[in-house]
Symmetry: C2
Subunit: 520 residues, 2 copies
Amino acid sequence: MVDVRNVLFVMCDQLRRDHLSCFGGRVHTPNLDALATRGVRFEHAYVQSGVCGPSRMSFYTGRYVSSHGATWNRVPLSAAELTLGDYLRGAGRVATLAGKTHVLPDAEALARFGIEIESERGALLREGGFAVVDRYDGHTPPGPQSGYANYLRSHGYRSDDPWSDYVIAMEDRGTIVSGWQLRNVHLPARVREEHSETAYMTDRALDWIGAQGDRPWVLHLSYVKPHWPYVAPAPWHALYRGADVGPVLRGMQDGTAEEHPVVRAYREHDECRSFAREEVARHVRPAYMGLVAQIDRNVGRILKALEKSGRMRDTLIVFTSDHGDFLGDRGLGEKELFYDEIIRVPLLVYDPSTKADATRGCADSRLVEAIDLVPTFLDALGIATPFHRVEGRSLLPLIRGGGIEPWRDAAFCELDYGFRRARRSLGRGVRECRAWMVTTSRWKYVHWNGMRPQLFDLEADPREACDLGADSRHDGARAEMHDRLLDWLSNLNRRTTIADAEAERRTDAHRSHGIHIGIW
Amino acid sequence: MVDVRNVLFVMCDQLRRDHLSCFGGRVHTPNLDALATRGVRFEHAYVQSGVCGPSRMSFYTGRYVSSHGATWNRVPLSAAELTLGDYLRGAGRVATLAGKTHVLPDAEALARFGIEIESERGALLREGGFAVVDRYDGHTPPGPQSGYANYLRSHGYRSDDPWSDYVIAMEDRGTIVSGWQLRNVHLPARVREEHSETAYMTDRALDWIGAQGDRPWVLHLSYVKPHWPYVAPAPWHALYRGADVGPVLRGMQDGTAEEHPVVRAYREHDECRSFAREEVARHVRPAYMGLVAQIDRNVGRILKALEKSGRMRDTLIVFTSDHGDFLGDRGLGEKELFYDEIIRVPLLVYDPSTKADATRGCADSRLVEAIDLVPTFLDALGIATPFHRVEGRSLLPLIRGGGIEPWRDAAFCELDYGFRRARRSLGRGVRECRAWMVTTSRWKYVHWNGMRPQLFDLEADPREACDLGADSRHDGARAEMHDRLLDWLSNLNRRTTIADAEAERRTDAHRSHGIHIGIW
């Protein structure tokens, strides 16, 4: 029996788990809290990379970064990679997009295969397999796949570039200033709340869902907020101004250990220089928190519409984020690296099936990963997952209970900082900047190309303040985690061009093809 | 200055290094010996897999098996993989094929991209980027890409399937018998020497080279012999009958250690059951040796023609094999696994450049790999190697001397036995049967998925008779080799969709695109 007809996959950009009230955070998120009450809250959900592009490619392909190969932002997704949209299409379904994906097409392959980017096939490769309602990746003016710029102009925001002039701009005593500058984020955006990025994309989703009527659907609603520029429209810009924005965590607390060279190099980036000043963090956080509250309000609009149309009865809903934001913690800004602020994301799953009734409102502390969503969606829709490609596992057995095979006891994450200034300051080549993390419930271990590892004892030091990577008392833990990394890397899915069932059929089958090896 | 205009890349199938007289073997190979005298003989050349398909895909892509993904025979080469032919084409050159490649097209990708297999693009993907003079993969009747069947019929071998009826058939006291049966390989093939597989493909190569005149060319001449069926035409079938075929090595010599479970499972395969009988090994080896001698003779025909036409002055010549053959050593038959009989192959490189004069006739004992040939060919032809994809290194600095960066001190090889009967007898799934080998000049270490490792001390035990994989006295060596495997696996080329120079250009470049991260 398949209870689920529709999937709503909501993603935020740069949303920190610990900011939502349902995850114990300071931002009041009543709509997400209500969703958590009706679904399962995953307390240890890890993304496969702490930066947008590679993290999203893992969400969309169900594969680790070392498998899909798009190791950083704007690295094209190989044409050989299949995505959620491709898997759905194979079963006669369509994955639709409203919002951001960060997919860049594999132009070299398109040229080699003679596929025009504007053709139907080319468009699918350009959009990562999604059918596009409105694609808008954020943090630059909306492109031709988005109607946002025209929408803004039609609502009176007169400009060739209404995004730069209104959406991320503010007025400061009569002067127009830019939200790119952190000093300005206490001011409201020049765009009204109902025309802001979050509201606009919510409208597109609501219109599209409404237009589907009773036809089954899969929608990826992908907000570009609370990602920088940290510009919130009124009244959200002011909601948390002056409120308690929490402590700003310091960096290393073990005076004896030397900070890891890559972390040190990141501190020289512009965003870390700014956020290392506690007053900057305290100035920015209220704007960020307001953007989060605004997202909650807009998700509430969607949930209300689904309730009204009866779609809560047959729609699987996932709410998550591609990674977090340091917001000044550890004296760092932005994202990347492997701390929980960045790679441990919020994940809520609402499953309408009566089989999920027993877990409603529960927290699940097992280690789950971004790559688990593709197999979860396919499982919910009754579509077989091709596990010779997909490396995640369906979460439905966790949500619906019943006989579960042993669940994973480690999660993995990767980084390629070859595109960052840190590479140059460390004097490394573009292919010498990779890192691989494995975390268990006890240890978090990072293997850095050409440098010492990092190690954190998550039980004794849950805030990861003390890097034990060079501590001789922990040789055993490092060796164990090192072994886990080798097992994981060696067993990534390489043989992607034939399915497991075909491999099974071909096993020991040469005689049936008239080939007789070594018979006397 | 580029001295090399042409490349002749000769490969044999299943040719054991230690059988050629230039590598100390018992088969007299005067033509190859002469080539060795004029070029460099690589004493420690390793293939990336001990089975045809994955080994060849590494030769053609310049990438390890875990990177190209074609882990066993008849696993299609992903459409995202580029080959020697693709790299040459990017520089206006063509790689031409006469013989075997074992490439299978990525039909799923072709369908997804709307590429007809018979189109120009489809044909290139089907042929692994080669332009085909005659493609013939051996051990089954020649297919439509080969003219061999018609050639045989035009020379009087009347049959719908002249390959089965003549090329691999013999007459035994008036009865036609099959070369599939090892018992028959002392008999001559029913095909005449000049119409045999090796002679036919040599003719195709000679004709084609002759037709090029003064135009530069790249030819992959790829013999299907001495691979089974071990059927040699007269007089080669008899040349070594009754001769000394060498000792037949026993298996494990350390009575205390238990044989590795995968090796034990391989012993149950048909070919190992046959070759475990020493009389079978001694019966087959003379036929195999005759086939090797015949290849030497035919390579001699090519070399003579190149000499005559002046092409020895501007042609880089490589002679190698895709892997070896146990021929009864260790009580094993056929190939796979990681012993030197299989994965350490003959490799001769003749470089016409005067810069190579100092090394003519030399043996080089550095560790080289099959993946080094693509960058060697490109280097010789003055074409830049895209090292964000290619994982090998040009051999020219070894041959021509001069400033060499430190050379590698380890070589790597892989196995996927998921398609073999051994998988079933060990009760494993199709994705649980992989193994990874690393060898240095001292240690050979094999990491098996879910099983104990193998370890051989190549200094104390060059014949790899004593498996130290479970010997507690060697924990240190195992740990060191384990680390090497992790370093290797983690640093394989994953980011293949943009070149290193582009990554270099994009480093820290967001500000130039109007993106201002974290500025106050």
